[in-house]
Amino acid sequence: MNEKAKTALLYLDGVSVSFDGFRALNALSLVIEPGEMRAIIGPNGAGKTTMMDVITGKTKPDEGEIYFAGTVDLRKMDEASIASLGIGRKFQKPTVFESQTVYDNIELALAGKRTPFAVLWHRRTKEEEDRIEGILATIRLGEKRNWLAANLSHGQKQWLEIGMLLAQEPKLLLVDEPAAGMTDAETAETAILLKEIAKTKSVVVVEHDMTFVRDLDVKVTVLHEGSVLSEGTLDHVSADPRVVEVYLGR
């Protein structure tokens, strides 16, 4: 582990993952500094979601190093302990608890003890209720608090999932395609919301929508065939001939 790894919030070095011989991640290296917001773009199948799978413990890397907050080796941990460390994730396909209410979805995600017995005896406190109210207001689902999550629109589910992510109070948020299936107005609002969140937390956002990425106005990393192709401002990467080729060559 080098110096850079020690100061970074998230440090990936030479990470590779293969599925039946197909290299989804190919010696991927990426460093996210504390407080940073980063946008990740790349064509379909570039390995963006797989990268999040590897960070959150869903997939184990074949090779490479992954450190969180300088010293914590994420390769040795399971999903639940990585989540408890403070890494939250929003999935590409919105996954909320469909048969439970919007309110309960947020309550489940609320930061706190996670062991069965602590949860069994737990009574919702006033502070927790205020937290939930605050989040419901932020994600504009206050009116629909008693709705079953299944009955929300696609965009609302995305927002609910972002709300769950906030409730977890993570240090690092991994947000996979938050604007998918949203109207232009919703997309713009989502960008505002994420920028607001990024004031206090580190955020990694994967997104195809270029208007959205431009709205975010942060450093961009382009992934292609499982490794970093280019990195810099959106204008910088858009001008990069290799990036142009990857996007136009398809």
């Binding site: 869903k58 489940l108 005896w121 009955n151 977890q168």
Partner: protein, 385 residues
């Protein structure tokens, strides 16, 4: 803390269920013991242990309904926990026989004398004491479930694979208990019981008490289940049922939650078995038959998966039908009836009796109070990503 926990479990519908069960616990035995035979309300003596048996099945169904309906664990081997609880009670009852057995041996049950055994196997030690035996009623199924669940849930065995190994578990126990040298009465099992706590097991008064104990145990565990479901723990297990991997990503260690409900459920099944044995007067390896475990799942499906009263009602209804069909000319057709029932319910009442009725009542209520803004549809659990 604990008081709060239970208070959460006793909501309006729970009070109704508890009230009915407690009323039944008192009224049925009383109507058998104290009303003259000529009274239209007299309950015949054969009915008391029969309905008492149904109540223990109700508790067994509740235990399966808890894990299947709320945590998505489909056990096809819960009959094993029921039978183990039953054997623990049976062993206590055997040791109460004493010198009244055919061979009159003061310590060894008849089947051991018959096998020419000289001393009591270690597994039987202590079973002459009622409290010890009762401890074993919950401990043995609980421990087996804990060990089984520890390995299965940690290795993330789920779905059909888990169901298959639960079935294998009960089948392995079936084979073991069939063998004479396993030490639990082999093929014949344990029977010819005489006394429980000094009372004749066949006496109407004892039967009345066993009946009441079954109804009270059912009410007790119903409240426990209800309290669990109404707690945040309940929300977590429902989340596990609907999107297991999502639950992990918000930090819940799913295997521990599954292990906790699974073990509790096995203990409940054990208690049900212990109450069943003195009322039917026998426990044999047949109780481990995989088909029995499948039947429990049918009760739950018929009554309504995803509710707590549903499984209880399912157990009562299906077993009443079973008694009705297997005592008449229709006896050979019972399995066809059971099979058709299962298919019929799956096709036409996927939410079971209670789920369907509940849906109808719920819809009516919503029509009356348009303020309730939640849409009516109940989503199907969806697979986690």
């Amino acid at each position: 803390m604990i008081a709060n926990f239970f208070l959460r479990g006793i909501d309006r519908s729970a009070i109704l269920v508890i009230a009915i069960l407690l009323a039944v616990a008192v009224l049925v035995p009383a109507a058998n013991l104290y009303l003259p035979v000529t009274s239209p309300f007299h309950v015949p003596s054969y009915v008391v242990p029969l309905v008492g048996k149904y109540l223990t099945y109700g508790l067994l169904a509740l235990s399966v309904g808890l894990i299947w309906g709320y945590c998505g664990i489909l056990s096809l081997g819960h009959g094993a926990f029921f039978a183990l609880g039953g054997y623990a009670m049976g062993m206590y009852l055997m040791r109460q026989i004493g010198t009244r057995g055919v061979y009159g041996h003061p310590i060894l049950p008849d089947f051991m004398v018959f096998l020419n055994w000289q001393e009591l196997p270690v597994a039987w030690w202590g079973f002459q004491y009622f409290p010890y035996a009762m401890l074993m009623v919950v401990l043995v199924p609980g421990l087996l479930a804990f060990v089984f669940g520890w390995f299965a849930f940690r290795s993330r065995v789920t779905g059909v694979y888990l169901s298959i190994i639960t079935q294998a578990m009960t089948f392995a126990l079936l084979l073991g208990f069939f063998r004479n040298n396993f030490g639990f009465g082999g093929n014949n099992g344990l029977t010819d019981f005489k006394e429980i706590l000094g009372f004749n097991v066949q006496a109407p008064m004892t039967r009345g008490f066993l009946f009441a104990a079954s109804a009270i145990a059912l009410a007790f565990f119903y409240v426990i289940c209800r309290s669990i479901i109404n707690s945040r723990f309940g929300k977590v297990i429902i989340a596990v049922r609907d999107a297991e991997s999502r639950t992990r990503f918000i930090g819940y260690r799913v295997e521990n939650y599954k292990l906790a409900v699974w073990t509790l459920s096995a203990c409940m099944a054990g208690v049900a078995g212990a109450l069943y044995v003195p009322q039917v007067g026998i426990i044999n390896p047949g109780e481990f038959d995989p088909a029995n475990s499948i039947e429990i799942v049918v009760w739950v499906a018929v009554g309504g998966r995803g509710t707590l009263v549903g499984p209880i009602i399912g157990a009562l209804v299906v077993n009443y039908m079973k008694t009705y069909f297997t005592t008449g000319a229709l006896a050979p057709y019972w399995l066809f009836v059971l099979g058709s029932l299962f298919i019929g319910v799956t096709l036409f009442l996927p939410k079971g009796i209670v789920g369907t009725l509940g849906g109808l009542i719920g819809r009516e209520r919503r029509v009356k109070t348009p303020a309730a803004e939640a849409p009516a549809t109940n989503p199907q659990p969806q697979a986690a990503e």
